[in-house]
């Protein structure tokens, strides 16, 4: 996966030990890294005859969701007033993201999906940890 090189905590404790800002940053980085490859993937599969319309629409839906998720997380960070050096971080990640995206384009479809599945799980877990850190009262 193109995001494998990103240093992400691979365990619960590791994730929990991360400060919130870093975690958020990480999430955003991940989401950013997938933005470009997803759109590219959507273009790519549109030409596939064997895929049903449902699959195509789902894929589009997913890329939209990723985008919305990223926007949402950014909003959350604003509201929580995290002092993330987001601008810097994002800038650098942008560059990194581009290079990564190029890599992503080379992956096969099944690998792509596999990597995406994993990374979305990662993002989900991090977000949940983040949520319970920020708002511990809701079902945490």
């Amino acid at each position: 996966c193109h995001t494998s090189r990103m240093p992400t905590p691979k365990g619960k404790e590791l994730a929990q030990n991360l400060p919130r800002e870093e975690l958020t940053h990480l999430i955003l980085k991940l989401l950013q890294a997938w933005k470009e490859p997803l759109s590219h993937f959507n273009q790519h599969i549109e030409h596939h005859q064997e895929l049903s319309d449902d699959s195509l629409s789902k894929a589009k839906q997913i890329s939209n969701m990723v985008h919305e998720l990223k926007t949402g997380v950014e909003k959350v960070t604003e509201k929580a007033r995290f002092s993330i050096n987001s601008l810097n971080g994002m800038a650098s990640s942008e560059a990194a993201g581009l290079s990564i995206s190029n890599e992503a384009n080379l992956m096969s479809d099944s690998d792509f999906i596999h990597c995406f599945r994993r990374d979305s799980n990662k993002v989900q877990s991090y977000l949940k940890i983040l949520k319970c850190k920020i708002m511990p009262e809701n079902s945490c």
Binding site: K10, G11, K12, E13, Q16, N121, C140
Partner: protein, 830 residues
């Protein structure tokens, strides 16, 4: 001598012997039962060998008895198993019994029976083979033993309860031919020793009952004797699981160990790394397992796991197994499942189910989010009802049946990829039955009330049954024929009835005629006196009518009544039939400025004939008529009756009375015409009284408004519009064109005034002609003349008189009273 004697004796003996030999017949020899065998299951056969048959045809019969019973049976089947045999089929084969069999040979001379043979069926039936033969090799200390185990044949009859099976086992190496047989005894397992390692052996086993035969050999089982030299077989990894998304465990299944003690090692590597690690913990999770603790567990990385089996001879590795821990999470079932029955006020009690996530799962930090699902069913029920609950840890159940016992279970699953946990232990709920006193009271009250109502209903039915029935099911009204008084009919007073119809006497007598003629004579001013007389007569008649008024209101056969007049007046009205012509003539002669009649009381020979009234518009014209005696629009009997009535009701209609005289002729005529309708006129009187107001008003109006017209002919004759050929053959008169309103019938120059009956056509049609005397209609004079001429010719066809019936509607409008309502006539004559 002696020699001779001896020789003769010998000869004799020889002869007799020969004879005997030639013709030697004696009773048969003793048969012998050879054997009894069971060829198939649940059947057996016995064979015997016959003895000498004594040279005579011999019958063999087999008798048997069971156990110690007295009863003797005969062989059921002599044929199936061949000659000299007896076949016992399923029905006759009882496994638990001992048969005592004898065969008897019979011929002419006598019979001879064999010795009895006792046959225990169980012993002669071949048993089934043993089943479930399994082989196992156990190697210890370099020595490999083969253990064979089996089960006795399934005995359906339990006949072998006191019979014991003996077993025999045989084995041989695969390649060889010769079996080595071992007698096992009564046990169902055996250890075969001294087997050559490395060879494949086949094993069979059979059994026998102590008194019976050997069964067939069981199917062969083969086994490979492990060679002490071989490496172990490849193990297989069964599964890997993580209970809380922090650690995980893998289990494997070993293969054959190849005769030597085998070691198993688990080796893994992570994705992206080349290094291979060994399982950190073989023990915690039990034999043939590997436990990865927190430190060694990484998420979002794929593990490549293999198990290696090693023994002295070598090693063997399993296939690699790839695992990402994120996706193999299977939590433990929820714990602390508690039930609480809550009983809110005024509401049904409900159940609150609460539970806790499994202790290991770290839900608090959000690392693992669980979703729950519960299922419940009534205790006796079969199907579970599964309810997905989501992430909450409590659930309210409202829809449970009181009094029943339910079983509840919960399980959980990670919200993302993962698998469901096991179901929690069963929890029983007993719903308390909901017996509220209030409900019962309500039901009791309802029951009492309904029973009361039923009682009341039945009482009313009983007391006022008929009325109720009449109320519910109103009686069907009988047909009311106008002019016929049903009561009179029933009473049988035909005379009265007929008189009611105005026909005095039946058949009509000359009286009728006279009267009619009388009336005819009355005309104009000349006849005013007559009219008056008639008028006087009228009251009398009216009085009569009044007197008769008390009669039923039906069937006043007047010209007005469409019905019956025809019937009753059929003959009595023959005169009237003549009337038109006469009348017209007379009118014509009189030149009184009167208008001819329009109305004739016509009784057709047909039943349909109904009194008709040629009418212009009814009351409207009538007022005109009233004001102008000369102008007389006689629309209908209604009108006539009105007029009649007016004659009688002096008080009621002064205006009318005024013209009465003039119209006497009319009235009278009408009356004569409708002599039958005296009663009817009475009716009209009554009706008229109703309509007095309107008519009077109209009259008055007419008088006021149309005074100028009054002198002129006001008669408003309505053109014959059409003749209704239906039952009430009615002549509908067209409304005058110039008159926009019904009420107003102003006589204009354009209007034709048909005042006289011109002719009668077709039995149904009355052709009217305008009054030739009417001066302001000179136009029509000619036709009138013509018509009058034709009339004068007296064309009355067929003695048919027609009564133009009052349109039925009008009658109806009278409300069923059969009084014609003049006002109601108005629209009909449009």
């Amino acid at each position: 001598m002696m020699q001779k004697f001896i020789s003769s004796v010998q000869i004799i003996l020889l002869l007799s012997w020969t004879t005997v030999c030639l013709f030697g017949q004696s009773f048969p020899g003793k048969p012998k039962i050879v054997r009894c065998r069971s060829l198939e299951k649940d059947t057996f056969s016995c064979w015997w060998k016959p003895g000498s048959d004594g040279r005579l045809p011999t019958n063999y019969t087999l008798f048997y008895s069971k156990d110690s019973e007295e009863k003797i049976y005969e062989c059921p089947d002599y044929r199936t198993s061949g000659p000299n045999s007896c076949y016992f089929d399923k029905k006759h084969t009882n496994h638990r019994t001992t048969y005592n069999i004898t065969v008897m040979a019979t011929n002419e001379f006598g019979s001879n029976s064999s010795d009895p043979q006792y046959v225990d069926v169980t012993c002669i039936v071949q048993p089934d083979s043993p089943v479930d033969l399994s082989l196992e090799t156990k190697t210890s200390a370099g020595v490999t033993d083969l253990w064979a185990k089996w089960s006795p044949p399934p005995s359906a009859h339990n006949s072998s309860s006191w019979h014991v099976y003996h077993y025999e086992l045989r084995f041989k190496p695969e390649e060889e031919e010769k079996w080595e047989t071992v007698s096992v005894g009564v046990q169902t397992q055996y250890k075969v020793v001294k087997l050559n390692a490395g060879l494949k052996y086949g094993v069979q086993v059979r059994c026998m009952l102590d008194c019976g035969e050997w069964s067939e050999w069981s199917p062969e089982r083969q086994i490979q004797i492990p060679n002490g030299q071989s490496p172990p077989e490849k193990p297989t990894i069964i599964k890997c699981r993580s209970p809380e998304k922090e650690t995980f465990t893998c289990w494997w299944k070993p293969g054959l160990d190849g005769g030597h003690p085998t070691n198993y090692t688990l080796l893994y590597s992570k994705e992206g790394e080349e290094q291979i690690y060994e399982c950190p913990d073989y023990r915690t999770a039990g034999p043939n397992s590997c436990y990865f603790d927190k430190k060694h567990t990484s998420f979002w990385t794929i593990y490549n796991i293999t198990v290696k089996a090693t023994n002295e001879m070598g090693s063997n590795s399993s296939d690699p197994h790839y695992v990402d821990v994120t996706y193999i999470v299977q939590p433990d079932p929820p714990v602390n499942v508690t039930l609480e029955l809550k009983k809110p006020i005024n509401r049904k009690p409900y159940l609150v189910l609460t539970w806790f996530p499994p202790p290991l799962a770290d839900v608090r930090s959000g690392w693992l989010t669980l979703e729950y699902e519960l299922r419940l069913k009534p205790e006796e029920g079969e199907e579970w009802e599964t309810i997905f609950v989501g992430q909450q840890t409590q659930y309210k159940m409202f829809s449970l049946n009181p009094g029943k016992k339910y079983i509840v279970q919960i399980h959980c699953k990670p919200d993302h990829h993962g698998s469901w946990s096991e179901w929690s232990s069963e929890k029983y709920i007993q719903i308390p039955s909901d017996y509220r006193v209030k409900d019962m009271i309500v039901w009791i009250i309802v029951g009492v009330l309904s029973s009361l109502i039923c009682l009341i209903m039945s009482w009313t039915m009983v007391l006022k049954g008929y009325r109720m029935i009449a109320f519910i099911l109103p009686p069907v009204p009988g047909p009311k024929i106008k002019g016929i008084d049903t009561h009179l009919l029933e009473a049988g007073k035909s005379e009265e009835l007929l008189s009611a119809l105005g026909c005095h006497g039946f058949p009509p007598t000359s009286d009728c005629e006279e009267l009619l003629i009388e009336y005819l004579e009355v005309e104009d001013s000349e006849d005013q006196q007559l009219r008056q007389s008639h008028n006087n007569g009228h009251p009398g008649k009216n009085a009569k009518m009044t007197s008769k008024e008390t009669d039923s209101d039906s069937g006043r056969g007047s010209c007005d009544s469409p019905s019956l007049l025809s019937e009753k007046c059929r003959e009595s009205c023959t005169l009237p039939s003549k009337l038109p012509s006469q009348d017209v003539r007379e009118i014509h002669e009189n030149n009184a400025g009167k208008k001819g009649w329009e109305t004739q009381c016509v009784a057709s020979s047909e039943d349909k004939a109904l009194p008709f009234n040629i009418a212009g518009t009814k009351s409207s014209t009538w007022p005109a008529a009233n004001t102008h005696p000369s102008t007389f629009a006689y629309h209908s009997t209604v009108d006539a009756q009105k007029i009649t009535l007016s004659t009688t009701n002096v008080n009621a209609a002064p205006v009318l009375v005024g013209n009465e005289e003039k119209h006497q002729s009319r009235y009278s005529t009408s009356e004569t015409l409708c002599e039958e309708n005296l009663e009817k006129q009475r009716e009209m009187e009554n009706m008229h009284s109703k309509n007095d107001q309107s008519t009077i008003q109209v009259n008055q109006n007419k008088l006021n408004e149309k005074s100028s017209f009054l002198n002129a002919k006001i008669m408003d004759y309505v053109e014959v519009h059409k003749v209704r050929q239906d039952e009430n053959s009615a002549v509908l008169l067209k409304h005058k064109e110039n008159n926009g309103k019904i009420e107003k019938y102003t006589i204009s120059g354009n209007s034709k005034e048909y005042t006289k009956v011109s002719t009668v056509v077709d039995h149904n049609i009355l052709v009217l002609m305008p009054d030739p005397r009417v001066q302001h209609t000179p136009v029509y004079q000619e036709p009138a003349k013509e018509m009058s001429q034709t009339l004068q010719q007296g064309q009355v066809e067929k003695n048919m008189s027609y009564c133009l019936p009052v349109p039925s509607e009008c009658q109806r409008e009278a409300g069923g009273s059969e009084y014609m309502d003049p006002s109601s006539f108005m629209p009909s004559f449009k």
